[in-house]
């Protein structure tokens, strides 16, 4: 049987190389895409899977809620909560705190920088990372203990067998000698908890103010539970926990005030979930967008499905050609079962050749290949084998024409073409919309003149002399038009928020984002003024004092500029009506002198916060320097700015980046998604076209006689061409219509996640349909033209 199958495949290769090539190419491509994406998806879903009982190891996350702002989730929580957890929740098996810090590790003349985690001695009871050397029960019990990762041990000592060896640690200028009490085994899968070293918290660490106050972000707290039910029980009582322990008076700095539950909440996230969950969690793990991973899985499955449909389509279209072979085999005594096995065997053999191609395309996928080949081969072969093995030999041998399979087979083949193209068109619509949105996000109006601006990293000093020095140095750099310092810049990394209240009855607090600027900010960013004016140094009240002085200036009035969102949230009817209006922030009065358009420093996914901008002569809080330049190429300007920067901050080098560069992280996900959709639609359309081309080849063969009849009845080449193109393109058009609605629905729902988004248009659909029809028409044009030009007398003899 195997010999028969191989001989049959070889015969196909010799006599119908096009069919075999289309089949193998389609299957190979489909399997390769499926295998590569399956491996990638499996990787993404297997984060922390190697950590024992990771599903029941939970991280306590905090949520801060401010009026006028969306709640924000943080992976860090105040450590002040730690001791109460065990007492309030008896379901907890064990807990540990976890705070990563930069350490310098020294062993003689070998030194390395390490990302070390300070933990409690109970760490291994909670997160049972396997040890290559050492006992997890005692590894962190000594105050001077340190557990190294295998790589760190190797780098420091040249070996991982280093139990009992000592090394010197340097943390925040504090040097100490520590003894290696364990070496972590190399993780056998992807993990989010992979410190270079683990060490117990120093005894004095917990006395630091950030560990003794609610509202501070101290570090992670992990809990180990027994069951999902325990998680549910704890989660249900976390609000009560916050009320019980975080309440205090309005002036109590260590508490969250009288109603802590209104601004602070806790939640639990399992270690198995953090890789996807942390996408929008501040201080979380490096996360992946689950929807992107799921799209990858879908693309993989669809690529294989399309390849299988392609193979079935080609095989059934070709079955008529093999009818005579079946008939002869049956007259010679072959049973239906034997023929069925042969045809399925041939399908698996073709798939195996495709598998070899797939292997070449993704050499790492060997473990799954056999399984994929077998399943794909069966999926491709069963139906065509059933059709072929059912032919009645007497009928086939008596007939002068090959069996076409009838209208049922035609419908099936058209159905398969519809399914293939429906997926292809759906992906194409998504591609178009995602790429349009990505482009829109990069080119949208940001409310300021984005081109020609270069921005430094944080200025890590509050020394006013230094801040002024850098401002002057930048201002006098050739090519610089203007320079300014500000706390907020595109891709905000430092947010300062506070409450303001419009003066008047029944007005509520709103939570606003504060920015303070120095220098020629208006010239640098060119914010669009909607009403009033920008700051002017000739007005005394335009210059507000620094943060500290600000709160110590009761009764004083400072001029501020609002953005459009702040005007709206504060309840003003128009930007003009806000001008001159006083606002209260604690004991200080703010007078609105101008309203500017919203300056979008955040992603298009996020809404712009209400913002109040101050002008200050005092030192700013970790400001950035921004310059507007002109007449100089960007790279030369960057070099000049660096030359101006380095003498002022010799120990704190910076690199100047453009607005586009700083905000590019906002678009990476969408760009990546657009790229994925482009690849997916490209593959889907390619496989669908392979199928259509194969189908057109066989249809041309099968319908030559029909064309002869039509021409004998007076049809012109044009008539036949129109008919055949119509027949080929009708299922494609139907596929377009079928795909459009789900694709547009999915895209509508995806776009709703953006605060700023494009409008969906029927033009998207029309463009995709036209392009798809054009591609499909070009695919079948050659075959159709040949068919339409057939000489009628010869065509009538064709069978």
């Amino acid at each position: 049987m195997l010999f028969t199958i191989l001989r049959s495949i070889l015969r196909q290769a010799r006599r119908q190389p096009l069919y075999l090539a289309l089949n193998v190419l389609g299957l190979g491509l489909g399997m390769a895409v499926c295998l590569v994406l399956t491996l990638q998806v499996r990787y993404e879903y297997s984060f922390n899977a190697t950590i024992p009982d990771a599903a029941h190891v939970l991280r306590l996350d905090s949520h801060l809620m401010f009026p006028g702002s969306a709640p924000q989730e943080y992976a860090d929580v105040p450590f002040i909560a730690f001791p109460f957890l065990r007492t309030d929740f008896p379901q907890i098996v064990d807990t540990t705190r976890y705070e990563t810090e930069d350490y310098q590790l020294h062993n003689g003349d070998r030194s390395i920088s390490a990302d070390a985690a300070m933990v409690d001695p109970s760490f291994f009871n909670v997160i049972a990372l396997p040890l290559e050397h050492g006992d997890p029960r005692s590894a962190l019990s000594r105050p001077d203990a340190i557990v190294l990762s295998a790589d760190t041990a190797q780098a420091l000592f040249g070996t991982t067998d280093v139990l009992g060896r000592t090394l010197t640690t340097d943390h925040e200028g504090h040097r100490s000698s520590q003894t290696v009490t364990g070496v972590l085994a190399r993780a056998s899968g992807p993990v989010t908890i992979a410190p270079d070293a683990l060490t117990p918290f120093p005894s004095d660490e917990m006395q630091k103010p950030q560990f003794t106050r609610w509202g501070s972000s101290s570090g992670n707290i992990f809990l180990h539970l027994r069951s999902e039910a325990d998680r549910t029980a704890i989660a249900r009582n976390l609000t009560r926990f916050v009320i019980d322990h975080a309440s205090g008076t309005a002036n109590d700095d260590s508490s969250e005030g009288v109603h802590p539950e209104r601004r602070f909440a806790l939640s639990l996230v399992s270690l198995r979930e953090t890789h996807f969950n942390d996408l929008h969690v501040v201080g979380g793990d490096d996360a992946t967008d689950r929807s992107v991973v799921n799209i990858l899985a879908l693309i993989g499955a669809l690529a294989l499905l399309l390849a299988v449909l392609n193979a079935i389509n080609l095989a059934t279209a070709r079955s008529g050609l093999r009818a005579r072979e079946v008939a002869i085999r049956k007259t010679l005594g072959a049973t239906r079962k034997a023929l069925f096995v042969q045809f399925v065997g041939e399908a698996i053999a073709s798939t195996a050749i495709g598998g070899a191609l797939a292997l070449a395309l993704c050499e790492i996928a060997l473990p799954f290949l056999l399984c994929v080949v077998l399943l794909t081969g069966l999926a491709c072969g069963i139906y065509p084998a059933l059709v072929l093995s059912s032919y009645q030999p007497a009928h086939v041998l008596a007939a002068t024409r090959m069996p076409s399979g009838g209208r049922g087979a035609t419908r099936l083949r058209n159905g398969l073409v519809i399914v293939q193209f429906a997926f292809a068109v759906a992906f194409a619509i998504c591609t178009l919309v995602v790429n349009r949105q990505a482009h829109f996000m990069q080119s949208q109006d940001l409310g300021f003149a984005r081109d020609g601006i270069l921005i430094s990293s944080d200025i890590m000093t509050s020394d006013i002399a230094k801040q002024r020095a850098i401002l002057e140095a930048l201002r006098h750099t050739p090519g610089v038009v203007s320079a300014s310092l500000s706390e907020l810049t595109p891709n905000i990394d430092n947010r300062h928020r506070f409450n303001v209240t419009p003066v008047g009855p029944h007005r509520e607090d709103i939570h606003v984002l504060g920015d303070t600027v120095v220098g020629d900010y208006a010239t640098t960013y060119r914010p669009r003024m909607l009403a009033g004016r920008w700051f002017d140094n000739s007005h005394g009240e335009d210059d507000s004092p620094g943060d500290d002085a600000f709160h110590k200036s009761p009764g004083k009035t400072w001029n501020v500029v609002l953005n459009r969102t702040a005007v709206s949230r504060l309840g003003f009817a128009s930007p003009e009506s806000a001008i001159g209006t006083p606002l209260k922030s604690g004991p200080v009065t703010l007078r609105v002198i101008g309203v500017m358009e919203d300056m979008r420093f955040v992603s298009a996914r996020d809404d712009v916060s209400p913002q109040i901008t101050f002008n200050s002569t005092a030192a700013l809080d970790y400001p950035h320097a921004s310059v507007r330049f002109s007449g100089v190429p960007e790279n030369i300007m960057k070099t000049r700015l660096k030359s101006a920067w380095d003498p002022v901050f010799p120990d704190d080098p910076t690199s100047f980046r453009t607005v586009q560069d700083r905000m590019s992280t906002f678009y990476i996900t969408e760009q990546r998604r657009g790229w994925l959709f482009s690849i997916a639609s490209g593959i889907a359309i390619f496989i669908a076209c392979l199928g259509l081309y194969g189908l057109a080849s066989f249809t041309a063969l099968r319908r030559t006689h029909e064309v002869g009849i039509r021409k004998a009845l007076g049809a012109t080449t044009h008539n036949v061409l129109t008919l055949m193109l119509g027949d080929f393109l009708r299922p494609v058009l139907l596929a377009c219509i079928m795909a459009a609605f789900p694709a547009l629905f999915v895209m509508r729902s995806w776009l709703s996640g953006f605060h700023q988004r494009i409008a969906l248009s029927w033009l998207d659909f029309a463009v995709v349909v036209l392009v798809t029809l054009l591609i499909a028409a070009l695919t079948v044009l050659g075959q159709t033209l040949r068919l339409a030009r057939a000489e009628p007398a010869r065509a009538l003899r064709a069978e």
Binding site: H705, L713, G714, T716, T717, N719, P792, L796
Partner: protein, 227 residues
């Protein structure tokens, strides 16, 4: 004179061989004639019929049809000529499997851009004429050979052609069905249709008004039957 063939020649050339299918054919056919062409296999009967039906082109000579010189026409003009003047009946019926009998018959009119209502009326009339109306909605595979051939005749006459070409119309039929088909052709001829039929059956050839015998690509005998 409806048809006038003069020095018609048909050569088939391949890389190595040149085959003469028709050699210097001279033939005239009057309007209203019923001509049977006979001869052994390979003598050129079907080639002659194909050339008469303009689905094959002669490699030499002249073919006049009424006022038209067909050898000078291009492909589009020939297609227009076929749909306006010719009706075909084939040995293997040549109905399109995917279309119903009604649709198969209508096909000949669709290429004339005839209004739907007129097409339906003509199709209905043609089906009645050959006794196939009760099978209008059936597919060819659901009909017997005789019924399929009657449908094919209906398709040939539905356009009221000047000439009906029949290529062994009874070749795939049993005696009874063959006789029925010949009856229909005779009736059509009596009603004024010009018919040229290729046949292997001497008895069917005798039913025509004229009989032409061919041998090795040439007309060797042309006799009028006494009817």
């Amino acid at each position: 004179m409806l048809i006038e063939l003069s020095h018609i020649q048909r050569l088939y050339r391949s890389d190595e061989v040149e085959t003469t299918a028709l050699h210097d054919i001279e033939l005239q056919i009057e309007k209203g004639e019923f001509v049977a062409i006979m001869g052994p296999s390979g003598c050129g009967k079907s080639t002659l019929l194909n050339i008469l039906g303009t689905i094959d082109r002669p490699t030499g000579g002249s073919y006049r049809f009424g006022e038209h010189e067909l050898t000078a026409m291009n492909e589009a003009e020939l297609a227009k000529f076929r749909r306006e003047h010719l009706g075909y009946v084939f040995q293997s019926f040549n109905l399109i499997d995917e279309l119903t009998i009604e649709e198969n018959i209508e096909l000949a009119l669709i290429y004339r851009n005839m209004p739907k209502a007129e097409r339906q009326s003509r199709v209905s009339h043609a089906m009645d004429h050959v006794g196939i109306a009760h099978r209008a909605r059936h597919y060819p595979s659901q009909l017997s050979g005789g019924q399929q051939q009657r449908a094919a005749i209906a398709r040939a006459i539905v356009g009221e052609p000047s000439l009906i070409l029949a290529d062994e119309p009874t070749g795939n039929l049993d005696t009874e069905n063959g006789a029925q088909v010949m009856d229909i052709l005779q009736r059509l001829n009596d009603e004024g249709a010009t018919i040229i039929m290729v046949t292997h059956s001497p008895s069917h050839a005798d039913l025509a008004r004229r009989r032409i015998d061919m041998l090795d690509g040439q007309v060797v005998v042309s006799v009028r039957n006494a009817i």
